[in-house]
């Protein structure tokens, strides 16, 4: 009898895992259905404005320029436009970069855009003009370089600095 009591006491100390397993069997399929294994984002863009221009011209802003990027299969042409600035000033910022195909031109492009942003801090618009034969992924890569800079400060830290976040997609005629 004493031995039976001891045996019963030992049996009751075991943790019953069945209810916990029931909970997991219900939770895990639910979470599997809602899990996101592939994350998507968006790049906001717009077409050039096709509305009729108003009679009053916008006041020229000397601290703001519009960057134009002509993306071709073998080179990228960077130019800058502002009605109030002299053409000689704008031409000094123009640049043509060869595209070898491995993306090595993108750091140079970003450096040039950073320089423009430093000189004209209120600038925020880039007009992209892809040429014939340019692939969509190349357009997205150039957009990434033009919209912001990403610096990795440590393992999980990213420092994002906007360059020209307003994107207008046009096309060379």
């Amino acid at each position: 009898m004493a031995f039976d009591k001891f045996r019963k006491a030992r049996a009751s100390m075991d943790v019953d895992l069945i209810p916990v397993m029931n909970l997991f069997v219900v939770l895990i399929p639910f979470l599997l259905l809602s899990a996101a294994f592939f994350h998507v984002g968006v790049i906001p863009t717009s077409l050039p404005s096709q509305g009729a221009s108003s009679g009053e011209a916008a006041e020229p802003n000397l601290a703001q320029v519009t960057v134009n990027l002509q993306v071709n299969t073998d080179h990228i042409t960077l130019s800058v436009s502002n009605d109030a600035l002299a053409q000689e000033v704008l031409d000094q910022l123009a640049l043509e970069l060869p595209r070898p195909g491995d993306g090595s031109e993108l750091p140079q492009l970003q450096a040039a855009l950073r320089q423009i942003k430093l000189m004209y801090a209120e600038s925020d618009t880039v007009v992209l003009l892809p040429g014939e034969g340019v692939r969509y992924k190349d357009v997205v890569t150039v957009l990434d370089a033009a919209r912001e800079t990403v610096e990795h400060a440590g393992e999980a830290n990213e420092l994002r600095t906007p360059l020209f976040p307003v994107v207008v997609l046009s096309r060379k005629v």
């Binding site: 397993m21 895990i28 979470l31 994350h39 984002g41 863009t45 969509y136 992924k137 997205v140």
Partner: protein, 155 residues
């Protein structure tokens, strides 16, 4: 000896739940970490591969346009056939595909919206020539859509 063999037969067979529970706990923690409660009216099309991008803008609902290498779909309905990602020379020369314009307009009219500005979400295969995407955007522009969201895969 007879009693010993009888005792062995009467020993209950127990299931080892501890290791199974360990596995479930790890899976549960991982799934809880990737749990997303947002629900957007957006379906990834299987026939395309999105370009990777460092963009971090969140996804918001709009008229959904998918461009694969074989067709253009507006809200899941095919409206234009492509030949290896390229539209016909006639469509490119004209600069508009009326079917896309009408489909975008109809989709926007039927969508519950929180603003009057027509916005379209474009998911396109990364290998498509830009001329095709430009044609689709311009066709949507004839429907009054001048703002677009290019869907990308986060790097």
């Amino acid at each position: 000896m007879a009693i010993g063999s009888l005792r062995r037969k009467r020993r209950l067979m127990t299931l080892q739940l501890t290791s199974l529970l360990d596995m479930f706990t790890i899976i549960l923690v991982f799934l809880l970490e990737s749990f997303q409660a947002d629900d957007e009216d957006f379906v990834m099309h299987a026939g395309l591969e999105l370009p990777a991008s460092s963009a971090r803008s969140p996804f918001k609902g709009a008229v959904n346009i998918a461009i694969t290498t074989g067709e253009v779909l507006v809200e899941g309905a095919p409206v234009l056939t492509l030949a290896d990602g390229a539209a016909s020379a006639e469509a490119l020369a004209k600069g508009q595909v009326v079917a896309i314009t009408d489909a975008v307009k109809a989709a926007w009219d039927s969508k519950p919206r929180d603003s009057d500005e027509l916005v379209a979400t474009i998911q396109a295969d990364q290998e498509l020539p830009y001329e095709t995407i430009d044609l689709v955007m311009r066709s949507a522009g004839f429907a009054g859509c001048f703002r677009f969201r290019l869907v990308i895969a986060k790097e």
